[in-house]
Symmetry: C2
Subunit: 364 residues, 2 copies
Amino acid sequence: MSKASHVASPMLKPEATIGILGGGQLGRMLALAAARLGFKCHVYAPHPDSPAFDVVHRVTRADYTDTEALARFAENVDVVTYEFENVPAETATFLAARVPVLPDPKILAITQDRLAEKNFVTALGIRTAPFAEVASPAELATAIERIGRPAILKTRRFGYDGKGQAAIRNGSDPTVAWRDVGGQPCILEAFVPFEREVSVIAVRAGDGAVASFDVTENEHRDHILKFSRVPATLGAQGAAEAVRIAETIAHQFAYVGVLAVEMFVLGDGGILVNEIAPRVHNSGHWTIDGASVSQFEQHVRAVAGWPLGKPLRYGRVEMTNLIGHEVEDYRRWLVLPGAAVHLYGKAAVRPGRKMGHVTRVFLD
Amino acid sequence: MSKASHVASPMLKPEATIGILGGGQLGRMLALAAARLGFKCHVYAPHPDSPAFDVVHRVTRADYTDTEALARFAENVDVVTYEFENVPAETATFLAARVPVLPDPKILAITQDRLAEKNFVTALGIRTAPFAEVASPAELATAIERIGRPAILKTRRFGYDGKGQAAIRNGSDPTVAWRDVGGQPCILEAFVPFEREVSVIAVRAGDGAVASFDVTENEHRDHILKFSRVPATLGAQGAAEAVRIAETIAHQFAYVGVLAVEMFVLGDGGILVNEIAPRVHNSGHWTIDGASVSQFEQHVRAVAGWPLGKPLRYGRVEMTNLIGHEVEDYRRWLVLPGAAVHLYGKAAVRPGRKMGHVTRVFLD
């Protein structure tokens, strides 16, 4: 698809307005990065208490299916981007007919579907965990025979932070898993005994220039990212391979903006792609404080048609997510030497909700 | 005054709203720092194209004398602070009767008047350039006899970036200088043959805790800050003395927030106070990218009643102001390795107008 769908970035003037679909913390941090560069932002989101609403020039509170509101939004912005990959395809297509939408909505269609994403990746000669398509209980039985146990059943669409997933262990009943995920089109994925999880935050400009941040090592808790550290515990060769994989994907998508690729590192050094996020990513939050140009700014630069930055990493960096009620401990973090505390301004604390994060840079 | 005017900081909740008087780049950067901590901001400023309007929850566009608008503003915020020291005293007093205003408006009365400020500083045993009060051409003649030439005539009020100043050199006619500054109440200041200009960005919390960033060395061009570097070329003893001076002033003011003290370093190592700015300061912009907690965040923490941060400086730092048409070169800075570019989103470029700045951190 790299040739057919190439979308040139507009070359925005500093006083231009960037439209952002989605009003969560990613939209908020995108807007804060855009503000550093002098841009105005207009956030479009359905929820009245969207955290990104508080830091922008203009907001539209409307559903993603409200074509009147979308048309007005398109008229008032110079480019549209998004903070999450589950923007309805129709919304993106409707907007793209009126104003540049970056990254290209066609990429959403692939990354919104685990099966299409995995097929895309493996077609590039990049490894993933063994997987099989599952559209019925009968197909699930066949898939288990092929993939083996333990394995994970994942809905093809709308999964995040562990939602839409069910484990199939030795002796467990597959029909329970099938029911747990709602009996939707799925993939069955082999359980991979990985040594560590890493991610690469890559950015690609409309002219084909790419830049990647140093490989990040990630720890999840209850399927939610809890902790990241940079650099990852990975040899120079492994790190180069991880970056090569992310940049290959970015090029093949003719991508414009920040792309995050989550990977598993195996005991033998092999690297498998786990998931692609066509957006700024939690595992790149360390770049706000740990680098001279953040993932958010790189994304803004790319969609604005501005040259990518050449970030300097200031030191070894650790990032800790504040999840749910952990945020209530914020005063402890505020007084920690060298800690950079970020709170997202979310009205309600809910278990599992990302409420903030803390970054620490170490100069050792 | 330290006891009488002590104003306790409110202890704001993360969802609180901070009111900011003034909508320039300092207000904008204050708001961006407040947003990192989860606060909402409400900016009050008279100019419709105020850069800070674009990054906040709510704005009031009204004159500082509009008591109706001020009363509504006070009702909608949990604390008020300001980005510039020339807030009319009546405005600050009007607001302070309704909502906590920090730093204490009484401090404005001193720092708005060069004579009061210098008297305050010298009463603390801190040196300034020799100065004399001048209220008439006759007093100017007497002052010149006492202070000598060359000297600088400065209006007591509303001077900044070299405005309201006139040099009196050997052979020049003092009456021209008197006319040039508009025949207003002035001070005559001896010209000090300093070796370098430095500044200390100090912050004081309501509970008396203080923190100072490392001493910054500054270079001006046409009376406007052009370049800052950290650390300053100053021995450990000189740096400690500069910090001691700034913190002494902060304590004596019972100050809450960030206070910038500009100083001259003489050839013999002596340090004179040049000017006090009761606000965040251009020479502290390097702290956004060069430290884990910026001057803007420290100010927000102090006025919010939150504990001060313990900033780590990431390396040697340089900051360059983009003044007037220099900003049009922004693409050159964008691609400089390690450069952090800040553009203020000002609609019109004017000579002498601060349009942006660039920070570079060096890990050598």
